[in-house]
Amino acid sequence: MDARSSTAAAAGLRHQAVVFALMVAAFAVGPFVVYPVFLMKALCFALFACAFNLLIGYAGLLSFGHAAYLGSAGYVTAHAAKVWGWPPELAILLGVATAALLGLAIGALAIRRQGIYFAMITLALAQMLFFFCLQAPFTHGEDGIQAVPRGTLFGLLDLRDTLVMYYVVLAVFLAGFLLIYRTIHSPFGQVLKAVRENEPRALSLGYQADRYKLIAFVLSAALSGLAGGTKALVFQLASLTDVHWTMSGEVVLMTLLGGLGTVFGPVVGAVIVIGLETYLAQLGAWVTVVQGIIFVLCVLAFRRGVVGELARVIRKPL
């Protein structure tokens, strides 16, 4: 890397640090301006979308079954917290481990095919998990696991307090966000992008493309699980909604609307989509229609997404 491009990269990073600080500030004062439960939902989905974006944006893999990790972690966390009485940190950890294992199994199968097949396989396997959750006794079918206790984090923080819960969710989100940021700017992330751009060339340079893809897949699944487990504690509920294919579609929509392969895009997309859903909730099935229209518009005319377009205007990566 010559001197000029390294200063350019440093300028880009400084720039992203500023945006990151703004984002943290906005979320930190958020609960005093906006309804905190709405913001917690948005943060959980933002983490979910960032995890999804790690795959589509940097590894070029379109998973159409990411609900599987969000939902399974939600169920496991809720079950551990409610039935076994585990503390929240361990319950979430178990949820993350479940999602990671599931990601390992599904990812190992799915990376055997590319492109459209990859999307169809992930979708089909996630649907299989949906039917499993529909029938398994511990998920309580249509009722879901209700009244999950939030508990006391590390025996110190009482999560029944909404504001305490909020800042814990924010901390979880930021930890996940920074991990993803670190990943995509690491040598590992560079190899991932190389595989996305030209897999045969990456292979010929000696990188085991499948191994990189699988690691990215498991990481993405685990972080989706982190979002799912946290969400189950926030809403004290784990239900079939979170494992249904519509949820997999929603995270695609958030990421696409915010900007595929941008650092901040998924966060913006998640906030917009959750906002839309909250304010359009009384319109019933129109929400689906609106989501469909956003999909069509994004694909036809707005492929960079909100943040991608912004980045183009200011000519700096976001």
Partner: protein
């Protein structure tokens, strides 16, 4: 008793399996014809199957047009809608990554299903079996309802006719050539863009035809295609999209397997196709009839 199962139950489930298999076959056939030429996985397929059933319902309800005409008209109407979608929307995406086609058709499916759900709710609307096909006949080991026999025979006929047209006629040879190399076929003076449009219309019409066939069996429901299409995706992955006959055989075969699972291990009947998909991916990633890339 066969394997400890009463024969009525066994043959009854096998029949249901064959019925489901005919829908899997017709839908996966449409998907692979579309994919062959457009390189797009048509996520709207489930919504278009549902539209076929609804057009049949509208024709009967508002125009007094019965089942037999619906069998012809519904595919034409829905196919025409497909042609419009291809001309104005899908066409813009051919130069891009194939995944955008998937996302666009997914969005279209959401719009269509949402609109129908707004107008007709989520509960099913009844559609009567045509008078000529009511009743059934006793085969000795089971009672075979006439309509179900008709669905199996008719869809098998449609599938084989499609196979014949694509594999054995001149038109089909153009289609196969354009799948291999569109630029070269265009250079021979064949209007490839029009062929692409008509192919999409045909694939969509097949989905709508399956929808009309399904209307008297399942109720007419805005979400009838939403979950079905995911199973059909699994069928497509299992069969591989390279071969027409492969789609047909895989479709019917998996329907039968699903029916048998309902008899011997009902808890797994929803998931058996996905499990088979996972196994096929482990053993033969390109699919049973697919060509390795």
């Amino acid at each position: 008793m066969i394997f400890g199962i009463p024969p009525q139950a066994l043959f009854g489930q096998l029949l249901i399996g064959l019925i489901n298999g005919s829908f899997y076959a017709m839908l996966s056939l449409g998907l692979s014809v579309i994919f062959g030429l457009l390189n797009i996985i048509n996520f709207t397929h489930g919504a278009q199957y549902m539209m076929g059933a609804f057009v049949a319902y509208f024709l009967l309800q508002y125009a007094g047009v019965g089942y037999w005409w619906a069998l012809l008209l519904a595919p034409v109407v829905v196919g025409a809608v497909g042609v419009v979608l291809e001309r104005f929307l899908l066409k813009r995406l051919y130069a891009l990554d194939h995944l955008y086609g998937l996302l666009l058709t997914f969005g279209l499916g959401l719009i269509i299903q949402g609109l129908f759900r707004n107008n007709f709710g989520s509960s099913g609307l009844p559609y009567a079996i045509p008078a000529e096909l009511t009743g059934g006949r006793n085969l000795g080991f089971m009672v075979l309802p006439n309509y179900r026999a008709w669905v199996i025979v008719f869809s098998l006929g449609v599938c084989l006719a499609t196979w014949f047209v694509i594999e054995r006629t001149k038109l089909g040879s153009y289609l196969r050539a354009a799948t291999e190399n569109p630029a070269l076929v265009q250079a021979f003076g064949i209007n490839v863009p029009r062929m692409i449009t008509l192919t999409y219309g045909f694939g969509v019409a097949l989905a709508a035809l399956a929808g009309v066939l399904a209307a008297p069996i399942y109720q007419v429901n805005p979400l009838m295609g939403a979950d079905l299409i995911i199973v059909v995706f699994a069928v497509v992955v299992i069969g591989g999209m390279g071969s027409i006959m492969g789609s047909i055989v895989t479709g019917f075969g998996l329907g039968l397997v699903e029916g048998l699972t309902k008899v011997f291990y009902p808890e797994a009947s929803n998931t058996v196709i996905f499990v088979i998909m996972a196994l096929v991916l482990l053993v033969k990633p390109a699919g049973l009839f697919g060509r390795a890339q």
